[in-house]
Amino acid sequence: MTWVNAVVQGVFLGGLYALFACGLSLMFGVMRIINLAHGDLAILGTFLVWALVDRLGVSPWVALVPALPVMLGVGYLLQRTVLARSLRGGPLIPLLTTFGLAIVIQNALLRAFSPDVHSLGAPAGRISTASLRVTGQLSVPVFGLLVLAAAVLVLGGLHLVLRRTGFGREMRATAQDPDTAALVGIPASSVYARATAIAVATATLAGVFLAIRSTFDPSAGPTQLIFAFEAVVIGGLGSLWGTLIGGIVLGVAQTVGGTIDPQYSILAGHLVFLVILAGPRGRSIATRSAP
């Protein structure tokens, strides 16, 4: 029963990773860059929510209502100012820029909020601990279900937007050929800015789920970036549903590894990533195209 439990927990954890990963995947698909500040932007958004909860005494869900639009704006402005310029500098510059940005955000958070570990579990109320009993030994945490549902909703929603809306078509067209997109009137910079806005907002949402589920601190970003990246690679780049699968595989690997011995949890996830990379899929990764 422990194993079934571990897999169930892993699936829920995978939902969280997929939520972190979808923005990373979207930015890579549209702009061909890996945003090395992705995890730190998520934690920045989480601290914004935490500050609202702390100062105003509201629930994290209420705090998300103003926080998500703010983080959309942060992402939009980030692209319009820093990233747009770095994209013109060739393939290395966006990486160096976003890495520098990650250092800045991380240490600014450290300075503003101290290295203390925080959690949004208590302010979120009973939902963070409640569980549904399925059988005698198997109970399903309500919050895990909620995270998975949110991941399916966000990834599914993004998928529908990309496939079915004019905005989504513009994003896919720009991802494939930004110069030709300009010839039918699509300004690449504005598409990029909106993709970044969505990425930062979904990362914030993921960060808040992480904070309710467990804890976070100013230096939690890089770990989330790594997990998100692993989920994207495991799931196959460029497909949002693949990202969900990748997140779940990573989550299950971690919880099953953690069942063997708690200290193997994260290592097991890394190893699954490396095995996938070494396998036949790894060969095609570098040449994968847009969503």
Partner: protein
Amino acid sequence: MTTGRRVRRSSTASRVASGCVVVAALALCGMPYMVTANVVQQLTSLFIFLILAVMWNALAGYGGMVSVGQQAFIGAGAYGTIFLTQWGISPYPAVVLASVGSAVLAALLSPLVLRLRGGQFAVGTWVVAEVLALLVTFDHDLGGGTGVSLRGLNVYGPDLRRAYTYWITLAFALLLLALVFALLRHRTGAALQAIRDDEDAAASVGVRVRPLKALLFVLAGFGCGAAGALTLANTLFIQPQSIFGVQWTAYMIFMVLVGGLGTFEGPIVGAVLFFTVQYAFADAGAVYLIGLGLVAVAFALFLPRGLWGLFAGRAQIQLLPVGYRLEDSAS
């Protein structure tokens, strides 16, 4: 009427500078006789930074590979040294062997991580570093998560120990500079720059991209391993969190970006600058790191060729003859 032109590798400036390098190297060898042991230790850490900057520049500036995971090899070098001394090998030979071990590790990993490009390579190498850090914390013989001391150096007096560590660090720095210099002087130099500028285009004109990138990756594994082993010899104590920490990458990016990405001289300038900055501001903690990050971002956006690129571009100077020059000849 035609003007004769010829291609030359060196200029007067570069010949003078090359001579100066030799003189400077000799002077640096004599340092332990001239300054206090404390200064010798500081200089050792300067040369460790120099090694790191040169190695990271070789990866990113010449191979187009932005690695966020070189701390994997820094840690491997340091813990390799610990491991070897535990098997009874004396510390300084262990430092050399562990550096070679890091190169072997890089060679083993290169088929895997070189499947990735750009940002994927960056995060992929980071994962490798995290895995190694985790494995080390599991091993109680290596001190687990709490850290471990290097034993066996107390056979030397503190002053002599620092001098020895300094000399071996200097030797590694000069060796690695010479290796990179030789790579650039050789035919591979042009091929490497073609890869950095456009990997696909380079491949299409017949540059064998994979082996060259693997070569750089192994070289960087060797150099970073040496830097890690020497850091251990210099400080005598390491912890997995710090020796495998991503802050090393932050330092390397700062040094190379500020000095001059893809220039031979740039990382040297960057290392000296970073050493000074570190010495002056490291106590400022988070604010210092915010400053480092902001400066790195500013250089990436506005001055990607760094200070050396700016200077060399203005003055038309290249001190070390790694490229080719076209000049008018009298005949």
